[in-house]
């Protein structure tokens, strides 16, 4: 069997099995190592009509109070980074599903497909992902606070994310050797999928567990329902 047939056949299945099994393992491990606990009731302002109305800035339901609170959030403190990271994560997760070539391959092999955008539109999305990667790289190298906690694995992570997109767009436009580019695209994509539940990319799973299920100071939603141990 040629190496190209291997990476396009069994290796794809292996990487997806690795991804789903790893994700399942992480979720089961979390539930087996944590226990259920009743959450504390959240503070809610009671509307007492007999009381004198508070100045608008202290009224928790007023727009100016909400805007003042928003400015204290991480979005208000660092809007550039938060906007970039939001756009990056949305395009990163969305683009592989709406690339026309991926959908044609899915249709040919399994008879299913997702809605796809034109090649020009997906090219733009890929360039957005790559531009965000360049932004993160520049931030890592230039901002002293980020540089202080940067390790070589952070650069490896960025490379693992950028590689499938870069090789994909190069292969699509037949820049460089097509066979090498498309093989590199498939292999780098498979490596990223396999690494998701076991490396730093684990934040994709644990973001939701940490923010919505675990009870701590900054739990979102209803306040969480479980604690470690």
């Amino acid at each position: 069997m040629r190496i190209f047939d291997f990476i396009n056949g069994p290796m794809v299945w292996f990487s997806f099995i690795c991804f789903f099994a790893g994700t399942l393992y992480q979720v089961i491990a979390f539930y087996s190592l944590s226990k259920s606990r009743a959450r504390h009731p959240r503070y809610q302002q009671k509307t007492d009509l007999t009381r004198k109305r508070e100045p608008e800035i202290l009224d928790r339901n007023s727009l100016s109070y909400r805007f003042a609170m928003f400015r204290l959030t991480v979005f208000g403190r660092d809007p550039g980074m938060m906007l970039t990271t939001t756009i990056f994560h949305v395009t990163l997760l969305l683009t592989p599903f709406i690339v026309l070539a991926h959908n044609i391959l899915l249709d040919l092999s399994m008879g299913i497909s997702f809605p796809s955008l034109s090649e020009g539109a997906t090219d733009c999305l890929i360039l957005v992902v790559l531009a965000c990667c360049v932004f993160f790289l520049a931030r890592r190298l230039l901002v002293p606070q980020v540089r202080a906690i940067t390790t070589p694995s952070d650069f490896l992570m960025l490379l693992m994310v950028a590689a499938p997109f870069l090789t994909g767009i190069l292969a699509c436009h037949q820049i460089g050797n097509y066979d090498i580019m498309i093989s590199a695209h498939v292999v780098s994509g498979e490596i990223m999928i396999m690494a998701l539940p076991f490396t730093r990319f684990i934040h994709m799973i644990y973001f939701f567990i940490n923010r919505f299920i675990l009870i701590h100071e900054n739990t979102l939603g209803k306040g969480g329902s479980r604690v470690w141990r």
């Binding site: 980074m81 202080a148 906690i149 973001f207 100071e217």
Partner: protein, 130 residues
């Protein structure tokens, strides 16, 4: 007068404490994207002219992160350095904010527990004027 040597570091005991909460520590350290967005939430960081040493992520990585990376086999000097991080650079006000939801105060308090188990504690009398 004889000066008593401090007792040896019991790495087995450290591992015992660490292993009890292993998954929590591993997941927290792995989930950290090293984004430094937690920095602004620490009042000490802002008081110390944005010194990166006071960032919550920097404190976690260099305290419990170091202990975990070395599997508890830390020297007394390293543990004393960690003591200075978890007591002098953090007051456990629990106001730090991680966008990814890592419970930073819980990890700092675990590092304090490990230091305490080895008798390496903050000297509250330090710098006191007689």
């Amino acid at each position: 007068m004889t000066i008593q040597n401090p007792p040896e570091i019991d790495s087995r005991k450290i591992r015992e404490i660490l292993w009890e909460r292993k998954k929590e520590v591993v997941v927290s350290l792995k989930s950290c994207a090293h984004c430094a967005l937690c920095a602004d939430s620490c009042f000490l960081y802002r008081c110390r002219k944005n010194d990166p040493k006071y960032m919550p992520s920097h404190k976690v990585i260099n305290s419990i992160g170091t202990i975990y990376k070395k599997k508890g086999k830390v020297t007394r000097a390293e543990l004393e350095e960690i003591r200075d991080i978890v007591w002098k650079r953090c007051v456990l006000c629990t106001r730090c904010y991680c966008p990814l939801g890592i419970d930073i105060p819980s990890l700092i308090s675990l590092a304090r527990q490990i230091c305490r188990s080895q008798g390496v504690v903050h000297d509250f009398e330090e710098g006191k004027i007689e």
